[in-house]
Symmetry: C2
Subunit: 291 residues, 2 copies
Amino acid sequence: MRVIVGLKEMLAWANKMRQQGHRIGFVPTMGYLHDGHFSLIERARQVDDIVVCSIFVNPAQFGPQEDFGRYPRDLARDESLTEKAGVDILFCPRAEDIYPDGFKTRVSVESLSGKLCGRDRPGHFGGVTTIVAKLFNLVKPHNAYFGQKDAQQFVIIRQMVEDLNFDIQLHMLPIIREKDGLALSSRNKYLNDSERKAALVLSRAIKQARGLFERGIRTAEEILAGAEAEIAKEKLARLDYLALVDMASLEAVKVIAGAPVLLAMAIRIGGVRLIDNTIFNEENLWKTTWN
Amino acid sequence: MRVIVGLKEMLAWANKMRQQGHRIGFVPTMGYLHDGHFSLIERARQVDDIVVCSIFVNPAQFGPQEDFGRYPRDLARDESLTEKAGVDILFCPRAEDIYPDGFKTRVSVESLSGKLCGRDRPGHFGGVTTIVAKLFNLVKPHNAYFGQKDAQQFVIIRQMVEDLNFDIQLHMLPIIREKDGLALSSRNKYLNDSERKAALVLSRAIKQARGLFERGIRTAEEILAGAEAEIAKEKLARLDYLALVDMASLEAVKVIAGAPVLLAMAIRIGGVRLIDNTIFNEENLWKTTWN
């Protein structure tokens, strides 16, 4: 595995690989890698013959009151794990190269970026789309891999890729969970024992909602009430949002029909913000609005 | 010469050319081509072995009160002239493919886009940067060519290309003028005989300013006063703006020192808006802030 820091080196390498006819798979991350990330790397290894993983804790997607400073970082560990996972290039650009003095450009998908997590985190998704556009131009991948854990992020990046005609195939892979149901996240590290236990309320709320759906219930009112009641049982959790939305437009739906619908939620436990989600009619995801 | 309309066909062709090792030169235009455009095509033919010219009258860069509807179009003429000029691909995408239903993304270079022409044309440069980002992704050029006539546009596109790490070399070529000094523009077609004569006030103002500069005058106050007095002589012309700005930041300068400085102006004659400019210390343009 080769570690690349410089932008020009990354670009030169990407051009060389493309000229040699290689297919480049790309897994962009903020590091502190867990099995969710490794499921993306594994899929990339199956699909592409070259795998690039980037690690960049992107200051532009953190709000001033957020956890940029304390976001967990362990590059030595990530380097060792990505090498074992079969990554070819670990791309770790410097913040001062990514955002040099005088940086002025922003890529935004406005109507999707203000919803759900975007309401609590103004500017967050504009920071995400801008860095992803930059990384796409530097890495020049054929395929890029994202986790469903950040479903809204994927919806927004997909819209950007379609709108700006990026010649990149996107892949969204399932949420990876601990045995007890907690979705993997680098932020789980922030939780103490009682908070870690309380965080299970997310997967319990999703289980509750999926149970209602499997028993034939289709109205947003009933499904949201079921999930909300589950969350209310956990006194340590404060609900940021809970929403049932169309998977393409992120607009609220009243009834789940045949189109893919996202149940998404964010809670706070102590100072930690956690998200989770599930997709109903996922089997129609790639057939209908997505292809 | 091949005419391509479909986006997927353009992309497939660009990928094929790149795989074959060709160098792609790109001249994006809104059509109704004149010798300014052909100077760009000619340079592209010298530098690259494949030349793509696009024609797309971009609705997103016109304001609601502007001339999108009546902007001159003559595709048959453009097709014949580009073929003679040695263009390999004439790319003429459809508006409904470029901006399909549900299009949501915007690329913006905010702090530069509100200045000069951007003050009179809110949203204009956001429309420009968004379409240029799209065309770059579809055509995948190694080099792209723009005219100095739209100097602010070039400054903004250059900032976008640097900020988003587009792997494209940009070229700005000199303004091409009629024998009497009028800068070539597709919009000159709007002018009747007396307006056409009045439009010469632009190049006269520039000549006046350059004369002052050559006589050693370096203060913005004196140079702007000289140009403004020239414009004031023409009763048919109404001044939109006249500014002396740093070529990289587009911020007003008080004194012309060694860095490249842009004298830019826009006037209205009847219902027609015309722009022109000149660059002082142009010899330092590619050595200092630009490279």
